[in-house]
C-alpha cells in the first residue's frame, strides 16, 4: 500500500535490520529484516510492545541510527547521513533550556540561512499557530509538558519538512493534553499533508490519527506482523472518533494481533528479570 511506482515513497525502509553488539561480545538482533514504505502525504502509525524496536526503526528513517543491513530511501534517493527532509519530534524534552520559546523556534531556521529578524517573525507566527503567542518569551522550564510539545512542534514545522518522524511524542502527557495535542497535530497536518511516521504504544491513539497502522512483533528480531488501513473519514476529532462503531471494529481487528505480541513481550520481560 502506498508504494506507487509513479511517485517515489517519502520514506522507504528496504530489508532494514538492526543488531546491537553487547558488552559480552555477542550480538542482539533488535529488528529482523523489515520493509516499510510511507507514501507522500500518508500518516502511518507503528504500534508494538515496549522494547520491540519501533523507535529504533524510526531512528533509522531519521538517519540517527545506521541499519546493520538494508537501506533507507528518501523520495527514491538512498539516505546518507541525517534525513534532512524530515522533522523529528522526540519523546523526551529536546528544547534548548537556555533559549526562550521563540528563540527555540527561530533557531531552527538558522541552518537554512534565514536572517534572524525574519526568523523571529516567522517563529512568532508559528507560536501563534500552536496557540502559544503569549508564552513566546518564556523559558522551557516555565512551560507545561503540553506547551513544551507545542514549542517542539513549531520548531520542527517551521522548517517545513516533507516528512514528520514522531517517537511517542505525546507519551509523557496526561490523557486530556494528549487529545488536544492529537487534534492540533491533525489540524496542522491537514493544512499541508506531510508524510508522517508516528511511533506509539497506544493503539487508540494510532487508529485515531493514522491512515495506516503497522503492528510490530515482540523482540528480539522484531518484524512487522500486521498492516491495517484505517478507513475513517477526515477531518477527525480524536475524542469523538473513539465512539464510532467503525473505530471499534478496526481496534478489535488490530488488538487481536497486538495482544499476542504484548503478552509475549511481557512474558519475556518477566523471564528476564527473574
Amino acid at each position: 500500500m502506498g508504494d506507487n511506482t509513479s511517485t517515489p515513497a517519502a520514506v522507504a525502509l528496504r530489508a532494514v535490520s538492526i543488531s546491537f553488539r553487547l558488552t559480552d561480545g555477542g550480538t542482539y538482533d533488535a529488528v529482523a529484516p523489515t520493509d516499510l514504505v510511507v507514501a507522500p502525504g500518508e500518516f502511518v502509525a507503528i504500534v508494538g510492545p515496549t522494547g520491540c524496536g519501533k523507535s529504533t526503526l524510526l531512528n533509522v528513517a531519521a538517519g540517527l541510527v545506521l541499519p546493520s543491513t538494508g537501506r533507507t530511501e528518501v523520495f527514491g534517493k538512498p539516505l546518507a547521513g541525517l534525513n534532512g527532509d524530515s522533522g523529528y519530534l522526540f519523546q523526551q524534552d529536546a528544547l534548548m533550556p537556555w533559549k526562550t520559546a521563540i528563540d527555540n523556534v527561530a533557531v531552527a531556521l538558522e541552518p537554512k540561512g534565514v536572517p534572524r529578524p525574519a526568523a523571529l517573525e516567522r517563529a512568532r507566527a508559528w507560536l501563534d499557530r500552536v496557540g502559544l503567542r503569549v508564552f513566546a518569551e518564556r523559558y522551557p522550564h516555565m512551560l507545561s509538558g503540553g506547551q513544551k510539545k507545542r514549542v517542539a512542534l513549531a520548531q520542527i514545522l517551521i522548517r517545513d519538512p516533507t516528512i514528520l518522524l514522531m517517537d511517542e511524542p505525546f507519551g509523557p502527557l496526561d490523557a486530556q493534553t494528549r487529545q488536544i495535542m492529537g487534534n492540533l497535530l491533525l489540524d496542522l497536518w491537514a493544512q499541508d499533508r506531510k508524510a508522517v511516521l508516528f511511533v506509539t504504544h497506544d493503539l487508540e491513539e494510532a487508529i485515531a490519527l493514522a491512515d495506516r497502522v503497522v503492528v510490530m512483533s515482540a523482540g528480539p528480531a522484531a518484524r512487522i506482523v500486521g498492516d491495517y488501513p484505517v478507513a475513517l473519514e477526515r477531518p477527525r476529532d480524536i475524542a469523538e472518533i473513539r465512539t464510532e462503531p467503525r473505530f471499534h471494529e478496526i481496534h478489535k481487528a488490530i488488538w487481536a494481533k497486538l495482544r499476542g505480541e504484548v503478552q509475549k513481550a511481557y512474558a519475556q520481560g518477566e523471564g528476564r528479570s527473574a
Partner: protein
Amino acid sequence: MNRWTLFALRVGVALVLLTAWHLLTAVPVGGKKLLDPFFFSTPIDVLARVWKDFYTGTIWRHLGITLLETVLAFVTGAVGGIVFGFVFARSAIVAAVFDPYIKAANALPRVVLAPIFMLWFGLGIWSKVALGFTLVFFIVFFNVYQGVREVSPTILANARMLGMNERQLLRHVYWPAALTWMFSSLHTSVGFALVGAVVGEYMGSSAGLGYKIHEAESVFDVTGVFAGMVVLAGFVIIIDMFVTAVENRLLVWRPGAQSTTAQG
C-alpha cells in the same frame, strides 16, 4: 523568613561576636584582662585602623592591586579552562593521553609553586596572577569538560535533526551547556583567584592586601593584621555580590534562578 528579620539576625551575630571580643580584651575582670590586647587586639582598635586606612587613602592602592591581580587571574584562568575543557571534551584521544598529567598537576599544592613563579615572573603582579591562574584554570577546566560531555543526548540529536552544523552546535548547544557549568563554579573560582593573589602577595611583594597583612605581622602589629583581614573579608563579600548579580543575569533560564531575583 522576612528579609529584615534575616538582616537583623545577621547583624545580631556580628554584634554578639564583637561584644564578646571587646569584653575579653578591653574590660578588666578582677584587675586583669582575660585576653592580652597585644596578641588579640580589640575590636575598637581594629575598626579605628580600618577607618584610618580608608580615611588617609593608603588602602586604596593595595585594594586596587589585589583587585587587578584577582581579575587577571580569573580571566586568564577561565579562558584557559574553557578552551582546554572544550578541546578535551571533544577529543577522546587528547583526554585519555593527558588524563594522568591533568590529575597530577591539579593535585599539586599551589603554594609550592609560588616561589617558582616569583623567580620566573618577578615580584610584581604577574607572579600572583600566575598563582591564581593555576587555581582557577583547573576548576573551570573540569566544569567545562563535564558540561560539554554531559549535554543531553536528546537536545543534541534534536539540534542535529534541525540541520545544525558543528559551528552552530557549538554556539547553540555546547557553549551554553559549558557556560552553565562554569557559572555553577563561578563563586568558587573567583574566590580562588583572590586566594592566589593574596597568598602570592603574602609570600613576596611590595603592594596588595596580602602584603599589608604580612607587613603588619612582621612587626607584631596584630591590630594591623586584623584590620587587613576585615578589609579582605569586606572585599570578598562585595566581589561575591557582584558575581551573584552576573550569575542571575546570565542564568535567567535556569529553574529557580529567577526566584531569587523576583523577590528583590
